[in-house]
Amino acid sequence: MLDVIDRELLKGVADLEGIPKGAYNIRKNGKLLARQVSANILIETNEDNTGINIIIKPGTVNESVHIPVILSQADLFDVVKNSFVIGEACDVTIVAGCGIHCGSDKPEGHAGIHEFKIGKSSKVKYVEKHLGVGPGSGKRTLNPVTRVFLEERAHAEMELTQIGGVDNAQRTNEADLGPGSSVLITERVMTDGVQRAVSKNTILLKGEGSRAELISRSVIRGDSRQDFYAVLEARARSYGHLECDAIVMDNGTNETVPSLRSLHPDAELTHEAAIGKIANSQLMKLMSLGLTYDEAVDRIIRGFLR
């Protein structure tokens, strides 16, 4: 059922050696390839057949859902709309991701629109990896949208990664926080050649005592370009922090625009932003431990994107 290319893509985006344990939904070239539900996790195709609904029963703990998407068909632009409804008092891990294998000069693309409603006091860890591989010159486009709504005291940790091989990406992340809820979003993007990636982020701190942290790490190689926009808006007594860091190599270009908007006197919002080359002192330190220049660059980049 899974061929070698499928396996390579699944390994890259979901760390899967084959079919995962627990609940899963694997989509290949715009169609369902395999699905498994569990006693607590329901997966169904949505009404207008544009994606899936994942419904997690209240009180579900220590369970995971894998929903990878793999693409290896030329000239296909696959759009899916997935919706997650997570009940109260859950503790679950959701692994998503999209791998594109491009074998021809025809373009391929995917837009995954993921919406999460996280119930009271639930904890969700969401891991999403995007990867492009294959020898073809066709343009690979990935435009993910991630929207998360957190109810009272809910907590979400979102790890969003674009590892490489994606020519064009328009990334959108939105979070809406209820009272006492918290979110940690980490986005890591590496581009090379003439690739282009734009990330737009909006975080609304609506609930009293909510907390949000957004960390962005960009590595911009070759002639690629990455732009990062983030708006952190507080409408209640809350705390928010933006950290945007970009390493520029070769002739990469970058625009980083962090923006803080406080609509409540007790909001505490901070940001740090830095764009620059790899520090010479870091290279010298690793080279003085016996690494070559290229090995030192590689270690610094891998650490930075970890």
């Binding site: 002192s281 080279m287 431990l289 016996g290």
Partner: protein, 253 residues
């Protein structure tokens, strides 16, 4: 054995009128560091101590002169090759990294990720906490912590020549004694030629020979008793224990 011969280091500087001037920072330094001996390099701030250390490690490009390690001319080698040839340098201001832990640094340095090997290094340098291994070598580390990591990564290389640039910065007073013992032990057990750049009298006492640097040149070579009067003559006060006596009351100002 490490020999430096007639080392010069110059940089081009622009003045307010955009005129370029050549400034010579290291001015003809020659010395032979013998195998397994303990040396201290001292001298006023800005006299060129760190620059000399970086010329030896290959971090600063040598303007003229030569460096020989065990008789082999390594002047044309870069940092990586000099490290592999057996020179190690502990930075005065160590670099901080995002996402690299002490374990990563130590693994690179020791050339192994095997935890039992890394633990051996920790025991050797007297770091008792295993948790410390997974600390990020980032901005959250204290000044003393990062200097301990710097020292450990230098020792883990088992170098033939180890240069420690002000290893006591930020280190609590009661750790300095054990640190000196550690460096002496490394010298005795591994025959490491040990060079410590320091303003601290304890290191100067421990050294078999002290090189006093002033204005990019070696002003004096000798033991503590022959060096102390010269330190007091120099009009600066880096040597707290020496200068803060009644004899040098104006340093208290």
């Amino acid at each position: 054995m490490l020999e430096i011969k007639d080392l010069y280091f110059s940089v081009d500087e622009q003045d307010a009128q955009s005129v370029i001037h050549t400034r010579t920072i290291v001015k003809g330094v020659s010395f032979t560091f013998k195998k397994g001996k303990f040396y201290a390099i001292t001298g006023p701030n800005g006299s060129g101590k760190t620059t000399i250390a970086k010329l030896i490690m290959g971090i600063n490009p040598i303007t003229s002169g030569s460096v020989l390690l065990e008789g082999r001319d390594i002047t044309s080698l870069g940092v990586t090759e000099r490290a592999r040839a057996g020179i190690a340098y502990s930075f005065q201001n160590p670099a901080r990294f995002k996402g690299l832990t002490f374990r990563d640094m130590l693994s690179i340095s020791a050339g192994t990720t095997d935890e039992s090997e890394l633990v051996k290094v920790l025991i050797r340098v007297g770091i008792c906490s295993l948790d410390f291994l997974d600390k990020e070598v980032g901005h959250a580390l204290s000044g003393g912590e990062i200097k301990k990591i710097e020292l450990a990564t230098t020792i883990a290389r088992n170098p033939k020549v180890a240069i420690y640039d002000e290893p006591d910065t930020g280190i609590d007073l009661w750790t300095i004694g054990p640190m000196i013992e550690l460096l002496k032990r490394e010298r005795d057990e591994n025959g490491a030629t040990t060079i410590v750049v320091s303003h601290n009298e304890k290191f100067l006492q421990a050294a078999e020979e002290i090189l006093l640097i002033r204005d990019g040149q070696i002003m004096h070579v000798g033991d503590l008793s022959s060096t102390t009067p010269l330190l007091q003559d120099l009009d600066f006060c880096n040597w707290k224990t020496i200068c803060e006596g009644e004899a040098y009351a104006r340093c208290h100002r």
